[in-house]
């Protein structure tokens, strides 16, 4: 298997799917000539032409609305929104139109739209370019939410999104673009939604790590291993649908759970997972459900302040250690 970056994995998937299906198009700000501000769409405009790879004005409402209307007519648009922070600019088209089109029509409207969007703090980008808005949209039935954490998942989940039948918010963590990993070459390689991955096995404590938190959670698990604590790491891969069974099975095994995400703690994805565990797995738990997440303030600019607000490897290790060594 080849080792490629998360960014290359996304690029390749778009290239392969556009080559395979003429109905797949890419629209967004600077996705064409520029190749994407994150470089992800690279030479796709050269390869597929300005008709299928379209640079748009800075018009998030029009981007999502156009993707929706085009999907109703049979296309499979990929719409790129440069920063997750900009999703609310397209709020109505995303929440009231795209998410609900199928349901409101009694199931007749088919709207396969993949919204590729970045998430997370890239470092000193401050309050309007650093947010992790996944949880905002978990409260909107009709959307699916993918949070790939590895290059292979970036590829496999994006393929599933593009070939699927539903609107997907595909969150690409900015700090993961340059990370490398093994990615299968099979042109049909896909990762199904709603299937979590066990990234590391352990029996002392479960760490549910979402998206960009996976590398930090793995680091924390290494630290804990040196202390004799075996952490199990579960990566949900998609938040909607959520693989409850895998999370519950891990908690059944360990009896302890830490949920880690970069989104703000209050009503972040961890709140839903914690509530789910409280409803469905409370009997397996030997301690409180602990969340490690961004503090409930806007993301600050200063590195000192930002590092304090964002969850760090140490925070994850401390939380897991606290649970694992807790006297029952």
């Amino acid at each position: 298997m080849r080792t490629i970056t998360y960014s290359q994995a996304i690029y390749e998937t778009m290239r392969e799917e556009m080559a395979r299906d003429p109905n797949v198009i890419l629209i967004g700000e600077d996705v064409g000539t520029f190749g994407g501000v994150w470089g992800v769409s690279s030479d796709l405009m050269k390869l597929f032409g300005e008709d299928r790879v379209r640079d748009t004005p800075i018009s998030e409402t029009a981007i999502i609305g156009a993707a929706l209307g085009a999907a109703m007519m049979g296309l499979r648009p990929i719409a790129e929104i440069m920063f997750g922070d900009f999703l609310p600019v397209a709020g109505d088209q995303l929440v009231n139109q795209l998410a609900k089109a199928r349901y409101m029509s009694g199931g007749k409207a088919k709207v396969p739209v993949t919204v590729r969007v970045t998430t997370g703090a890239p470092g000193s980008a401050a309050a309007q370019h650093s947010q992790s808005p996944e949880g905002w949209y978990m409260n909107v039935p009709g959307l699916k939410i993918a949070v790939p954490a590895t290059p292979a998942d970036a590829k496999g989940l994006l393929r599933t999104a593009i070939r699927g039948e539903d609107p997907v918010l595909f969150f690409e963590h900015k700090m993961l673009y340059a990370t490398k990993g093994e990615v299968p070459e099979d042109p049909d390689f896909a990762v199904p939604f709603g299937q979590a991955a066990i990234r590391r096995e352990g029996h002392d404590v479960t760490i549910v790590a979402i998206g960009g938190m996976l590398p930090k959670a793995l680091e924390a698990a290494d630290m804990l291993a040196r202390e004799g604590i075996a952490a199990e790491i579960v990566d949900p891969r998609t938040l909607v649908p959520l693989d409850k069974a895998t999370i519950i099975a891990s908690v059944h095994k360990t009896g302890r759970v830490v949920i880690v995400h970069e989104a703000h703690k209050r009503l972040g994805p961890g709140a839903e997972i914690a509530a789910m565990l409280a409803e469905e797995a409370i009997g397996y738990l030997d301690g409180p459900i602990v969340r490690v997440a961004a503090k409930n303030v806007p993301l600050p600019y200063s590195p000192e302040l930002e590092n304090f607000v964002l969850p760090q490897t140490q925070d994850i290790a401390e939380a897991a250690r606290g649970l694992a060594t807790r006297k029952l």
């Binding site: 198009i25 008709d51 299928r52 379209r54 748009t56 004005p57 018009s59 409402t61 029009a62 999502i64 609305g65 156009a66 993707a67 929706l68 209307g69 085009a70 999907a71 109703m72 007519m73 049979g74 296309l75 648009p77 109505d92 088209q93 009231n96 139109q97 089109a101 199928r102 349901y103 409101m104 029509s105 009694g106 199931g107 007749k108 409207a109 088919k110 396969p112 039935p141 009709g142 699916k144 699927g164 039948e165 539903d166 199904p192 939604f193 709603g194 909607v240 649908p241 959520l242 693989d243 409850k244």
Partner: protein
């Protein structure tokens, strides 16, 4: 074009459609009062000519997006009154199986991409449909109906800008009925003619008498021909007036009886009917026959709706996704 240049068949069709829209609305209002229809209704009584004139200029393969005041648009694009009435009555036989109601009716086979509960919400969607037509080089046109109120929404600006930029085959049809909900247009926009905004998007802006179905038809036909030939979008503003409140039950404290009575002298339906008799020389019996046919159709529609089953509660969970991932999505 003079009215005498139109074939009788076309004139009768336009009149029939307008009469159907008017009578459908009056029936719906009655049936809501009678308890058949549980939800709210924003009726388009008084605005029949914009809906019918514009849709008459479209081909069956063209598409429209509609508004909260959308019953007329749907009927004009070929929507069947019985499925519409059943949807209003929240029955399984309705256009959306009772999940949409007045604000969300759609029929994708007829090119009706949906009424819309959000002011301005359908405009970017029409642009997207036009994008698909352009990208696949299909000679089809998308038309978006919206009101004067929507012309002050951000979605209007983004959609028209994108369509002007890409020369998309789309028609923006503004039904200016002078009121955005309960506030007059003069208090909502610094310009009286919204069509002048077209200049900012490098597209023609056309003002028509929105109560004259032939004027609306001709303006829309010209825009559709141009769009189909690759000439890009057009903004049409049809000046019209709604007779009833923003919604049924609106106390209408914001306008005068005199104003309402003055507009009724320019009624799009009865005015056109009078012209058919006086100027086109059509026999009144023909109109009577057509009116009777429409009334019978509406009798059937109401009976169909009333006799149709209400949905089983569990079916509320169906249709959210095309693929539920084995039920995991819930």
């Amino acid at each position: 074009m003079a009215i005498t240049d139109y074939p009788d068949e076309k004139l009768l069709h336009l009149y029939r459609q307008m009469y159907l829209v008017r009578e459908f609305e009056l029936r719906a209002i009655n049936e809501r009062r009678a308890g058949l229809i549980p939800g709210f209704i924003h009726s388009c009584v008084g605005q029949e000519a914009t809906a019918v004139g514009a849709c008459a200029a479209l081909e069956p393969t063209d598409v429209i997006t509609s508004t909260h005041r959308g019953h007329g648009h749907l009927i004009a694009k070929g929507g069947e009154p019985k499925y519409m009435m059943a949807e209003l009555a929240a029955r399984t036989t309705g256009y959306c199986g009772g999940k949409g109601g007045s604000l969300h009716m759609s029929d994708f086979n007829l090119g009706i991409l949906g009424a819309n509960g959000i002011v301005g919400g359908g405009i970017p969607i029409a642009v997207g449909a036009a994008l698909a037509f352009q990208q696949r080089k299909e000679p089809r046109v998308a038309l978006s109906f919206f009101g004067d109120g929507a012309a002050n929404e951000g979605a209007f600006h983004e959609a028209l800008n994108l369509a002007g930029l890409w020369k998309l085959p789309v028609i923006f049809f503004c039904e200016n009925n002078l009121y955005g909900e309960g506030t007059p247009q003069a208090k909502q926009a610094p310009v009286a003619d919204l069509a002048i905004r077209a200049a900012g998007y490098a597209m023609p802006g056309v003002i028509v008498d929105g109560n004259d179905v032939l004027a609306v038809y001709e303006a829309t036909k010209a825009a559709a021909d141009r769009a189909r030939a690759g000439g890009g979008p057009t903004l049409i503003e049809g000046k019209t007036y709604r007779y009833r409140g923003h919604y049924e039950g609106d106390p209408m404290v914001y306008r005068s009886k005199e104003e309402m009575e003055a507009w009724k002298l320019r009624d799009p339906v009865t005015g056109f009917r009078a012209r058919l008799l006086a100027e086109a020389g059509l026999a009144e019996e023909k109109l009577h026959a057509l009116e009777a046919e429409v009334q019978a159709m509406l009798d059937t529609a109401v009976a169909f709706a009333a006799a149709s089953p209400k949905p089983q509660p569990q079916t509320a969970l169906e249709g959210v996704y095309g693929d539920t991932d084995g039920g995991l999505v819930f």
